[in-house]
Structures are given as C-alpha cells and as structure tokens.
C-alpha cells in the first residue's frame, strides 16, 4: 500500500510530539502482545488507533502512559519519546506533570468519591487556587451538564455513561498537552458522542492539545482524526491520513461496514463476516 509514504514522519521542523518506536510488550513474562509497534503523533494532531478486539490498542496506550508495569506487562523492546524525551522509564505522575494524560478503558472512576471529587483529583498535579479550580470545574460541567446534576453522588452509583463522562472530565482537569483516549465513545449516547468529538476537536484546534485515541467507532474516529493506524494482532497493518484510510476499500468493508453497494442493514447480513474473511 502506498499510503505509507504519507506517514507522519518526524522531521526537524515537525518533530513528533509522541513517538513510539518498535515496541514489544509481554505480559506476565510469557504472553507476547505487541510485536513491534511504531507510531507517531505530531504536535497538535489527532491520531486514531483502530483495530479489532484484542488487537492491542489499549496495551499500546498503557505502554505509553507506563501504567503497563502495574499490570505485569513489560516493554521488552523499543522506546517511547515524548517531546523529545525518553519516557518509558518515568512514573505516571511525572508523565502527567509533563502534560500527558490518559483516560483508561473501562471507566475507572473512584467509586467512593463523589463525581465532583473525582474531577478534582484530576487537577492533582496542578496547583490551583480555589477560584481557578472552580473555573475548571465549570468548564467540565459545561461540556457535560449531566455531571453537574450528579456532582454530589458517589461515582460508584452513577450510570455507565456518567462514569465515562466523569473519567474524561477528570483527564481534562489536568489540562494536558496530550491525551490518550481509550474508547471515549463507549457507552455514550450518540448525541453526546458527537459532542465529545467536538470537544476533542476544540481542544485540538484552540489549545493545541494532541490526541491519540483508540476507538472502535471507526466512522467518527476517522472523521475527526488526522492520521490513523490500524492494528491487528499486535502489529500495525495499515497507516495513513484519515481521509485515505476512510476511502480505502478494505477499511470500508471491515471497519466502516460499507461495501460496494453502500451500508447494509445489520439484519440483512446473513453470514458471519469475520469467518468469511478467515476463509478467504
């Protein structure tokens, strides 16, 4: 495929903000999950990470944010640079201080803290006055009005979508310069999904925040992203400008669900697609 020529190369005038070079990740000393992944996120861009279940998207993100260590995963090869500095040996706290935040998959709110307290912990690394904190909170509440309504209740009791908003809002509170988003649209009502991506776009354009997002909603992800990488089985199998990917036939068929004749109804597919692919 020729699009690899379009790969966002790190050049001196456009240094890769985040660059992951050929990393290999092993869980539990035996389970090899990432088999050499390289990717670049240029400053101020949105990069999407796509791929089937179990492809290794979350693992990649956790490798970058160094949270992997605590799940008994190890980066055995390769390195990761963030703003020109090697970061794979830093602690998450140091990373957050350097401006890199992660929204983890699966919501991970602090169940025993109220929604508002959850958001406040997001600003832990920043030293804000009371009024500044309030302003930041208001901003998040403005994005997610639902959170304002539920601010006093314990996060553990809120609904799935509310928790997801809470997790995203919490990461925003750190005012990072780069955010790793793991499936932000999961469990979120469609209207809000659009809004979340609008927020992403806004932050990206107005505050130059870079994004690396793992997303299953390929459609919308490619609509908002600048670049995309497609992972399969721990390897990058395709990469390129978002528009190019979106117009690629294979991507269309497997990730966007549109084949030659346009989108098909879910009801009408009479066979299992993936099985077909394997057999082919």
């Amino acid at each position: 495929m020729s699009i690899s020529a379009l790969r966002p190369e790190a050049t001196t005038d456009n240094p890769a903000y985040l660059s992951v070079n050929n990393i290999e990740v092993i869980y539990d000393h035996v389970i090899l999950v990432l088999k050499g992944i390289s990717l670049q996120v240029p400053q101020g861009k949105i990069v999407a990470l796509l791929g089937a279940n179990g492809a290794g998207k979350s693992t990649t993100l956790k490798a970058i944010s160094t949270l992997l260590k605590n799940e008994r995963g190890d980066i055995t090869k390769g390195d990761i640079h963030f703003r020109g500095e090697r970061v794979d040996q830093l602690t998450p706290n140091e990373l957050v201080k350097r401006g890199l935040s992660q929204v983890m998959e699966g919501r991970h709110c602090f169940a025993h803290l109220s929604v508002e307290e959850n958001l406040l912990t997001g600003a832990y690394t920043r030293h804000l006055s009371r009024s500044e904190l309030k302003a930041e909170l208001d901003k998040v509440y403005h994005y997610f009005p639902r959170l304002r309504e539920r601010r006093q209740s314990l996060a553990g009791y809120t609904s799935g979508g509310e928790q997801q908003m809470c997790a995203i809002g919490r990461a925003l509170m750190a005012r990072p310069s780069m955010i790793l988003l793991d499936e932000p649209s999961m469990g979120i009502a469609p209207q809000l999904v659009e809004e979340i991506f609008e927020i992403v776009k806004n932050l990206n354009q107005q505050e130059q925040v870079s994004f690396l997002l793992a997303e299953q909603n390929t459609n919308i992800a490619l609509r908002y992203a600048d670049f995309g990488y497609i992972l399969e089985n721990g390897r990058v199998v395709m990469e390129g400008e978002a528009q190019d990917l979106a117009s690629n036939e294979d991507v269309k068929e497997f990730y966007l669900g549109v084949s030659g004749a346009g989108r098909k109804s879910f009801r009408e597919l009479k066979f299992y697609r993936r099985r077909k692919r394997w057999l082919a």
Partner: protein, 262 residues
Amino acid sequence: MNHSRQTGDVILDLQGISLAFGGVKALTNISFNVREHEIRAIIGPNGAGKSSMLNVINGVYRPQQGQITYRGQVRKDMNTYAAARSGIARTFQNIALFKGMSVLDNIMTGRNLKMRSNFLLQALYWGPAQKEEIAHRHKVEQIIDFLEIQHIRKTPVGRLSYGLQKRVELGRALAAEPEILLLDEPMAGMNVEEKQDMSRFILDVNDQFGTTIVLIEHDMGVVMDISDRVVVLDYGKKIGDGTPAEVLANQEVINAYLGVAH
C-alpha cells in the same frame, strides 16, 4: 424487513414502576411490556434509567412502586435467584465476569441452574456427575464456537481485552438457555464488523431458540435494524414506545436522544 418470525403474547409486563435512590429518581412510573420472541430495545440518553430498568426486571433493584407480571404471575418485585430460575439471564454494562476464572469456566457457570448432581457426587467426580459435566461442556463448546473465542478458552478472563470480555459475558448469559435475555450494551467497544457479527448472532439466537431479547444499545443503526419495538427513556420517564420507525419519527425522542445528526 422480511423476517418470518412471529412475536407472541406478552411475556413480561411492567406497570407503573418507580425507583428512587435517595433523592435521585431513576425511574418514574414506567410501564411497558415485552412480547414473547421479540427483540425489545431500550434506548435513552445517559443516566436515563435504562440499566436500572434491567436491574428491576431481574431483581437486583426493588422498585418502590409498580408491579411486574411475568408469565401471568404478578409480583411486586423479583429476586435475583427467582429471576434466574424462571429463565431470565443478562449481561452487564460494566462487565461482571468472574475475573479469576477461565473463559470456559465462566461460561460453564451460566449452566449452573441446569446441573443436577449434588456436591458429594461432584467431589467424587464419577458416574453421573462426570457425565453431566461433559454434557454441559458440549453445550458450552457450541457457544464458544459460535462466539469465536475458541483460542482463549482456557485464558483467565481478567487477561482479556474489553471487547472479548463482553463476548464472554454474552456467552455466559446464553449458556443459561434463557427465555428472556437482557443485554446491557452488548456491543459497546466493538467495531462495525464485530457489531455486525454480534447482531447476526443475536438474531440467530432469537430465531433459533425463540429467545426473547431486551436490549440496551446506543448504536442507533443496530437498534433500528434489529429490534422489533423500542422503548425510549429520558430522565427516568418513558417518552416513546413503538416500532423503530415510529420512534425515529417521534420529535420528543429526537430532541432528547438522537439529536439532529441522525
């Protein structure tokens, strides 16, 4: 939509259900029913009370008001065990798998109500107990095949990716061969291809075993395509109920949930 399936009588009927947690009104006076063999979707914005609705149906939450009629039997509330016994199985929004157990064992737990041999026989693992175990294993392997998770059969589920866990959870619910299957966002975290498979799968279950399905899903495409009737919740109230087409045309629903983009 040329499917030949017939939906039957009302199997589950909820009347005037209200549920509040302290000050939070999760559900207010909700009534709707589910017919045999149908695919019934529940949609609504975040925090509308969809999951709470499922929790009421299978007895995790007790509604303060209202009554539930299941197969002609009227009750104030369900209890989880009784619900399971009477053929209601479900999946959860925040995955509730048994993290320390393998995929196979997790799905096997789904069959526990069908197991007859007592614990002494199981301790001996001999004769009827072993036969039974193997018979159930057959069923479970079919489900595993169906879900295409053969390769992770013996992996502890804690080590699986999110999407795979969702699949296992579905498998566990299916293993119970339920009459009603409650699915809470079964396709969250899946890409289109996977969603297509999953839809096919749900339809197949519905067709082949006649399982009634109650489905919560945020992907409108899926909901519109595969469900027979949709109920729409907003702020704990019912704002719409009808066929996908009817719901889609409902202005209130568009305002509250779908937005203009769709």
